[in-house]
């Protein structure tokens, strides 16, 4: 019955989200609208992270390694 426990945990988590963000007092269509907007924003953030973060990390690594490499050639 582990599946039921997981489901209970997620419904508890959803209830906490509703309580904290004041969704529990909104009417159902307002809740759906807010959830949609929030999920869209989160999806966009995740997509941007997925696309851009490896490129940024690679560029930053190259920049710092070039600076350290330059520094080491100076000290030589």
């Amino acid at each position: 019955m582990d599946f039921k426990r997981v489901k209970d945990y997620f419904s508890w988590l959803y209830y906490q989200y509703q309580i904290i963000s004041c969704c529990a007092v909104l009417e159902p269509w307002e809740q759906s609208m807010f959830n949609t907007i929030l999920l869209t924003i989160v999806a966009m953030v995740v997509y941007t992270a997925y696309v851009f973060i490896p490129i940024h990390i690679r560029l930053a690594w190259e920049f710092f390694s070039k600076m350290c490499g330059y520094h080491s050639t100076i000290s030589n």
Binding site: I19, I20, S21, C23, V25, F34
Partner: protein, 552 residues
């Protein structure tokens, strides 16, 4: 401690005062207001235990989420208002008529916006009709709403035996009829209900005089006067005491009746921070040094307005320091003991007895009979010349109908019950039971980890909830579990500090309190309300032991 039966506390009649003005302060003539045993020690019993108050701040993430929640509610409020003005949605709230659209807008300020968009969504937690006496258990009428709280309808069912944690029923005297109320029934048969006149015309009954003598005796003062309505006692008598050219120093969190009375009087009002003696002293010094604002003359009178117990915070006023300040700067003191009369103090005589002070130190003692006595109305007590002045000059005495006789008899009965004059010690037992219940409830709530405001000994217990959705969920869930609580939100408290306010009663048994505490524990876990970082352990502290087994 005073003996039950009230014999040790001497009464405050005029005769005693005349005897005392001979100058004899010791020996056969005990001083007014000072307990006999303490008098034998030579000095009055002053409150020497430290005042334990806590106003813990919430963790930062809680405040952030609270404001985010309100922000989201505000955004949706703007959206709904836009839909209403466009005509897409029907507007159920109050709007101006077509002809008034070009005038100054009536419903656009924040209060109305908040009411329309935030309060309406959770409105079903307030104004719930009940249909029984507000004892320790009561019956609530069930109601539902089909259009998200704009209108309600009653289903016809009654929720029976809901545990009452919201009524101001501190000593359990607001109950349905039983044989001890026989005298009230007799007075009802003899005098009827309506008085049909004001105090100045033909509305002063012998019942009022009996009641006023009893109130003066209860409080150990010279005289008292009673009024028909507690709110009107404050708002109609402060204008009779102070006027233009006087200064009122009023606490930040005073009740609306005090604020209204102060504004009606026309005096200058300055506000000091809640229960903060440094703030009050600074204001007093500035008032005495600089006088009136432009003409620099001395103030005619300086009146300090405080309450005994503040109902939204549960804090008790720091009376000894205020009395010391008042004597130093020659100001007058007005205490509103609406919640504290009958509920604090070893024999239930209010904050003055709680701190062991002399009632003659306080110039005007005001209180209401609504909370601990199970009736309605208010009183003002103090020196005889003050009360005589109010009998002539109070607006309430001139224009308002006086107290109804059965209500006066109910107060007489309750007061005699508390003082022990009816021959039993049940009154004193109830006061002690209330103190015990208060301490137990507060201690358990602190152990569970909730944030509780106020003094350890005050029977009014605010439990902080902070987020608006939790406020609604809390009240609804508890009503489903047959516990009735009062939750308070924005206009009565600061925006981010919504709370649930419990009023412990002497009529609550240990089992009822335990039931409530269990349910609160579950609600606290379900809604994640246990914010306190100073959770006290239920086990006794180990460092109380004086010897350790280290050296063996």
């Amino acid at each position: 401690m005073a003996n039950p039966g009230g014999g040790a506390i001497c009464n405050g009649n005029l005769h005693n005062h005349e005897k005392q003005s001979d100058g004899s302060a010791s020996g056969n003539c005990p001083k007014n207001g000072i307990v006999k045993e303490a008098q034998q020690n030579g000095w009055p019993h002053v409150y020497d235990k430290p005042l334990v108050e806590s106003f813990e701040e919430a963790p930062l993430h809680v405040m952030v989420f609270t404001y985010l929640g309100y922000g989201l509610g505000t955004l949706f409020g703007y959206l709904r208002d836009f839909l209403r003005t466009c005509g897409i949605e029907k507007c159920n709230a109050a709007i101006e008529r077509e002809e008034q659209k070009d005038f100054v807008p009536l419903y656009q300020n924040f209060e109305n916006f908040y009411t329309r968009n935030l309060y309406m969504r959770i409105r079903d937690n307030w104004n719930r009709p009940i249909c029984s006496a507000p004892g320790s258990r009561f019956d609530v009428m069930e109601r539902v709403s089909d259009d998200y709280n704009w209108t309600f309808r009653f289903t016809g069912r009654i929720i029976k035996d809901v545990i009452n944690m919201g009524s101001y029923n501190f000593l359990g005297l607001a109950a349905s009829y039983d044989e001890s109320m026989r005298t009230v029934k007799d007075v009802l048969e003899e005098y009827g209900l309506g008085v049909a006149s004001t105090r100045h015309e033909m509305g002063t009954l012998d019942k009022h005089e009996e009641l006023e003598n009893l109130v003066a005796k209860f409080l150990n003062v010279e005289a008292a006067m009673v009024f028909g309505m507690g709110f009107a006692t404050n708002s109609m008598n402060i204008p009779a005491l102070v006027g233009k050219g006087c200064l009122i120093l009023s606490d930040e969190l005073n009740h609306a009746s005090l604020v209204l009375g102060a504004r009606l009087s026309g005096a200058t009002i300055r506000i000091f921070k809640h229960n903060n003696m440094q703030s009050l002293e600074k204001l007093l010094r500035d008032a005495v040094i600089y006088g009136q604002p432009r003409i620099r003359r001395a103030w005619k009178k300086i009146l300090i307005l405080v309450e005994g117990i503040y109902s939204m915070e549960g804090s008790i006023v720091h009376l000894p320091q205020i009395v010391a300040l008042k004597k130093k700067y020659k100001a007058y003191l007005y205490i509103d003991e609406a919640h504290s009369i009958g509920s604090v103090g070893p024999t239930g005589r209010g904050v003055v007895e709680f701190f062991g002070l002399d009632p003659r130190d306080v110039d005007v003692l005001m209180g209401t009979f609504t909370k601990s006595f199970g009736a309605s109305g208010g009183y003002i007590a103090g020196r005889k010349d003050l009360v005589d002045y109010l009998r002539v000059h109070s607006h309430s005495a001139v224009y308002a109908t006086s107290m109804s006789p059965p209500i006066a008899e109910q107060i007489i009965r309750s007061m005699k019950f508390i003082m022990g004059l009816d021959g039993t010690t049940q009154g004193l037992q109830r006061v002690r039971q209330l103190a015990k219940n208060t301490r137990y409830f507060r201690q358990r709530l602190n152990e569970m980890g909730f944030i509780i405001y106020g003094n350890e000994e005050s029977p009014v217990i605010p439990l902080l909830l902070y987020m608006p959705a939790k406020v609604a969920a809390f009240a609804r869930h508890l009503l489903n579990r047959k516990i009735g609580v009062v939750v308070v939100g924005f206009p009565a408290t600061p925006l981010a500090e919504a709370r649930a306010r419990f009023c412990v009663s002497a009529a609550h048994t240990r089992e009822m309190l335990d039931t409530v505490l269990e349910n609160l524990d579950e609600m606290g876990d379900l809604l994640q309300l246990k914010y306190s970082r100073h959770r006290k352990s239920a086990r006794p502290e180990l460092y109380d032991e004086t010897s350790f087994e280290l050296d063996d």
